[in-house]
Symmetry: C2
Subunit: 404 residues, 2 copies
């Protein structure tokens, strides 16, 4: 069992979003007076500030009253719900989806990601992962004993698009990568890949026969009509080598129901269903009913929600851009900002703890997204607007106190 | 990716409960006239016949209205819910539980089982598995590339207890097994392990330093006050090497919420939480609220539910015992019966398909529980009483038609 202990020692969750209360805090140096204000947990969105899609609870209740048919669905999800989603998601992404073979409902987008990774990689397989990208991507590669091949993204670069190093991506494909996983909009930076970049990814995947998982969790929250390109909608790569993941946990605030979807490659989805059978059987049956509200929100509701997020983004971005020594890129989509701080005199983890204990502000350390991001942190700005801006002002003050 | 395809080819779900609609049915020989009657799906319980604990939907609704605190709990589950369950489950099992370190809430009992196995075994580890026992146990061993060491249970034997081969169990421990996983009451036979057997398991685990996972999913549904011994309550083995699993999906019919619990070893639970962080984050937040109803059912509700199951068990058992060529053991707990049929002229899988197509009766083939059970099938008798008895009568008639 020693191997297991070692393996899990690497899979830390103490700095993962929502887990901060597990941290040891005894030795952290707290500088200056305590900064008072409404505590803000930027590690995830606040569903009190942005409540679930109207009618979600009612749809859940209807599902509960359906009884056995809803409680015990096939492992890949209830047939009628898959049919409805296949239609909506095909329209959204610009390519058809067979509801019988090409879609699976999962316990959250995290569930989709786990099943997708488990259904594609094993010991020693090489997986290309963008840096920075969603922290669980890295942990999944480790858990399945695969080999992480990092590909850098110069998100501060002046060019159009994400700044993904396409040459390094091709090198990784040439050197035996079997799977490429990336989020678009990128988590944690909020950058949206350009059509040129998505086209290049498709062409490279096709050229080298690489499987691709596109995590489009935030694809419905794009600001200022920035162009968004669905990889599967381009039709440039073998659809049996491409899986797309999305879910209603973020912009739509349905996280408490744990719902996600994966669609595309029928071969991958068949393996994912087999894995789901031993992981958790199915997405909670009654919760599955709530998918009916998704992509069927009341008229104007999504547009207003995106506009409200854009307003918060703008205010926080302006505070950070004006703060001495900070660098930050304006997100084109999603609810994350990933600022780089000026150099500080304590470790990133100690700073994040001090920020939480002394200023009531919880952020996610940049090192969760790649070891080199030791001067950055991530915030989810889906929060009560004024409290979030005030918390960022406190954060800037705390950075000032800890600067070298 | 060839290794992955091979690995998943072994993880079939076509004969798993609830997945029967995926089967190819073209070539099955249908003998005699169609047997009409209310279709019964014995692959899982019927929550229409036995609805969820009263008040569950209302508690869920309260949880939903709690908002962010309920939607985003720590990965191991909401603190106040863990505290309440730790108290109830300590009383139920006869040994204390630290709510901070020794309990984790999971997406169903299946979720608990997956996390427990993933947190304990890796490539090449030897795992002792009872035959017959819950089919997913076998698949989990395969998925984690561990080695299955079968231990036979002579459940038709005349002795007291389950008939587990304790000599073979000790041999397996002596030969390097690192983990023993078993269900009590046993799935699929419904046998309850005797106090002597549970004591022997504890002593052997202690002697050889083996980790144990006790799946007690049906421990609240014991018939005729048959004695039930909680392994952890004996206090005979290192509590850090023992994990107990239970959940409200069966007797209490809360499966549609996907709720389970694992408790015991703090070291295992710490690893399970790390795994849960990348598998599905947490049991659905709003669903977690429904745990409040569990072990707090209205007075007399559980006793009546168990009595109703006992009545169905008795009627079905009497039909099967009287049927020519059948062998069946009376279950002491749980909702399963595992009859052995007389020899039939077609394969077990073809018979099960014919039974479903021609008599409207769905059962789970015995081979899901071990390759040697090719003459047995499992039924979950948590069904509408009269429909279930009628379906078993049709099953007996179908067996008569296919006998050698």
């Amino acid at each position: 069992m020693n191997n297991i202990s070692e393996k899990f020692a690497k899979l830390g969750v103490g700095s993962a979003p929502g887990q901060e209360a597990l941290q040891q805090t005894g030795s952290v140096e707290l500088r200056g007076a305590r900064l008072e204000g409404v505590p803000v947990d930027f590690s995830h969105g606040d569903v009190n500030a942005f409540p679930p899609i109207p009618g979600s609870l009612e749809t859940f209740t209807d599902g509960f009253h359906c009884g056995a048919d809803q409680a015990y669905t096939p492992y890949r999800g209830k047939r009628s719900i898959r049919a409805g989603l296949a239609r909506k998601l095909a329209e959204f992404t610009g390519a058809p989806i067979d509801p019988e073979r090409e879609i699976i409902l999962t316990p959250g987008t995290q569930g989709a990601l786990f099943l997708a990774m488990g259904a594609n990689i094993g010991s020693g397989d090489k997986v290309a992962i963008v840096e920075p990208d969603y922290f669980a991507n890295r942990k999944l590669v480790e858990f399945f004993d695969a080999e992480l091949v990092p590909v850098q993204m110069d998100y501060f670069g002046a060019g159009k698009g994400s700044g993904l190093d396409l040459t390094a991506l091709e090198d990784s494909f040439r050197n035996g990568v079997s799977l490429f996983l990336f989020s678009n909009p990128n988590n944690p930076t909020g950058v949206v890949y350009s059509r040129f970049e998505i086209t290049a990814i498709a062409n490279l995947a096709e050229k080298y026969g690489v499987n691709v998982i596109a995590d489009e969790l935030y694809a419905r929250q794009i600001f200022e009509d920035h162009a968004y390109t669905h990889l599967r909608g381009l039709g440039l790569m073998d659809p049996d080598k491409l899986l797309t993941i999305i879910g209603p946990s973020k912009t739509e605030s349905l996280s408490g129901f744990r719902l996600g979807v994966a669609f595309g490659s029928a071969a991958m989805i068949e393996r994912m269903e087999k894995l789901q059978a031993i992981v958790s059987l199915r997405a909670a049956g009654y919760s599955q009913a709530v998918f009916a509200n998704w992509f069927s929100e009341p008229g104007g509701w999504m547009a207003e929600r995106v506009a409200m997020h854009q307003a918060i983004r703008d205010d926080i971005y302006n505070v950070l851009r004006a703060a001495e020594g900070f660098r930050v890129r304006l997100p084109e989509g999603g609810s994350y900002l990933f600022p780089k701080m000026p150099e500080i005199a304590v470790s990133l983890h100690d700073f994040c703890k001090a920020l939480r204990l002394h200023a009531g502000v919880t952020v996610t350390p940049g090192t969760e997204f790649g070891p080199q991001f030791s001067g950055s942190f991530r915030i989810n700005f889906s929060q009560q607007h004024q409290a979030a801006v005030a918390a960022i002002l406190r954060t800037v003050e705390m950075v000032r106190r800890y600067r070298v």
